[in-house]
Subunit: 320 residues, 2 copies
């Protein structure tokens, strides 16, 4: 019985190519069940080998098609796709199953997994890095993470990859939107998809102009034209991803990036934990008592918060 | 010297109509200086009498003009305006001074104050309720709070009023945008401004249809057509605001709303305080040591977060 196996046994099976074992490990970290901590621990210990590629962009730019095609051309023995799309009703319902609209584009060897938001976005931001590490530790490579680049959380998830590809479509509007959403800052490679449309070259030129104005030192994001539904430009796109991977590994940028991500992740998890405790406090008897005093105007909300904070953290002084 | 007076003396002066004393009290809570806690305490104790009206909507809908006109027609002895507009470069620079573009519309008796974001939006969300209470406790009435309804924080600030007016302009787009931004849910009264434009009646009809689909029990938000730059519809708008005030006071909805807001405010302040402490932990020696172990893959980010959380809150078990 798969369900009675320990995390270590499941990892061993997953490394041997057992997809159901891998699926179970992912479910454990996604549901945060009793074994989640142990699975995350094992995964982190053994991870760090896969190329982790993020694909992000506005809805309708063709991210899913590019993702599926990349999994095929990557030439990896065991490519994996993690699809995170909080805005898609399709993904919303497909938490545990594979994702349907990709099947056409992916060969039998790719492992595909959907993750949905399910409640708090911060929780997703915590679960995704664990899921990436589980895939990595199970020997998948590359691990391609698809997200919709629409909000701060999504952008931060996209930035959890070693290499982030930002997908735009022809037309000034999209490039400007990408800029506004903070996507330009996280882009290591650009794909101008639907390049068979009239203004694809114009879109590339616009992006190059933006890059002229403010690109980071050391690496300038290349811009690749793709027509993903016909498979055009995908190999060139993958070549640029590989070039970026090589750049990261030759410089010490890979370790720096991962260090920064570890820090962000620990901060995010501490905040999540603290938020949970804040909610516990306010629902406790002393929380209700303090709120009653606020309602009767005996103390201000700030004073109530300070009191409750001090009871939580053992009185390190007011925090107004 | 005004600067050497105690908060109690400043409140006494402000209640006598001394605007500089009132300005100083607001600066104290805005800057969170040493006296901020004491000022907030006094303000909360004496507040609860003013009608607090929020005016919100997308940029360019004419909120400022409506706000200024309402201050005049309200008939209050001492109307006050608190203008919060994180997206406006005008307000951005006018943290301490009065706001210029309103002056035309406001009679000499209105007290006007701008607040800018300055850093963390959560901090603003904490400072605004204090500022409202300072104005309230100083005897201002009504207190009109103008915000741009574009993000979650802005919407939550708008919802900090007793009565929230959502301003839209003619054309489907705006009503749909307002819906997406969550503004429909917080609206107690709608103003369709620039009602001299062709499709004003259509905009009202669209809003009424949306209200048919999902309005809350007890109070249905009325929709008022205004052309604020000519002063048209402003008196009718104020009458609807008064009608809502009466509704709140006759039902126990006013106390319920304020209780809910107190709760939200205490939770927000606890989170702010905890976030500050989380940052301190991560920058401490034990934080650096934990991150080093994560980078060497000895422990996972989740385990590091649990360790640091427990050192903060005295070990209430893991929080993975």
């Amino acid at each position: 019985m798969l369900s009675t196996r320990s995390p270590d046994e499941l990892f061993a099976a997953a490394r041997d190519g057992n997809r159901r074992a891998l699926g179970r490990l992912l479910t454990m970290v996604e549901r945060r069940d009793d074994n989640a901590g142990l699975v995350a621990e094992r995964a982190h210990r053994d991870a760090g080998h896969a190329r982790v590629v993020g694909i992000t962009g506005a809805p309708g730019t063709g991210k899913s098609t590019i993702t599926g095609r990349l999994a095929v051309v990557s030439g990896g023995d065991r490519p994996a796709v993690l699809a995170i799309d909080p805005s898609s009703p399709l993904t919303g319902g497909a938490i545990l199953g594979d994702r349907i609209r990709m099947d056409d584009h992916v060969s039998g060897s790719a492992f595909i997994r959907s993750m949905a938001t399910r409640g708090h976005a911060g929780g997703l931001a915590a679960a995704v890095p664990d899921a990436i590490r589980v895939l990595d530790a199970a020997g998948c490579d590359p691990v391609i993470v698809e997200t919709v680049g629409v909000g701060q959380v999504e952008v931060s998830i996209a930035a959890a990859a070693d290499t982030t590809v930002v997908v735009v479509t022809p037309g000034w509007g999209d490039a400007v939107q990408a800029n506004k959403a903070g996507l330009l800052e996280v882009a290591d490679v650009f794909a101008v998809n639907k390049a068979d449309r009239p203004d694809a070259r114009g879109a590339r030129r616009d992006l190059e102009l933006m890059l002229d104005l403010g690109h980071r030192g050391g690496w300038r994001a290349p811009v690749v034209l793709t027509t993903a539904n016909r498979g055009e430009g995908i190999e060139e796109l993958w070549a640029e991803i590989e070039r970026h991977t090589a750049h990261l590994r030759e410089s010490d940028e890979l370790l720096r990036r991962r260090g920064r991500r570890h820090r962000d992740e620990v901060v995010n998890r501490i905040e999540l934990g603290l938020r949970g405790r804040a909610r516990q406090i306010i629902e406790s008897r002393s929380g209700a008592a303090a709120l009653g005093r606020v309602d009767r105007r005996e103390i201000s909300p700030g004073a109530a918060a300070d009191m409750l904070l001090n009871s939580l953290t053992g009185g390190a002084g007011p925090e107004s």
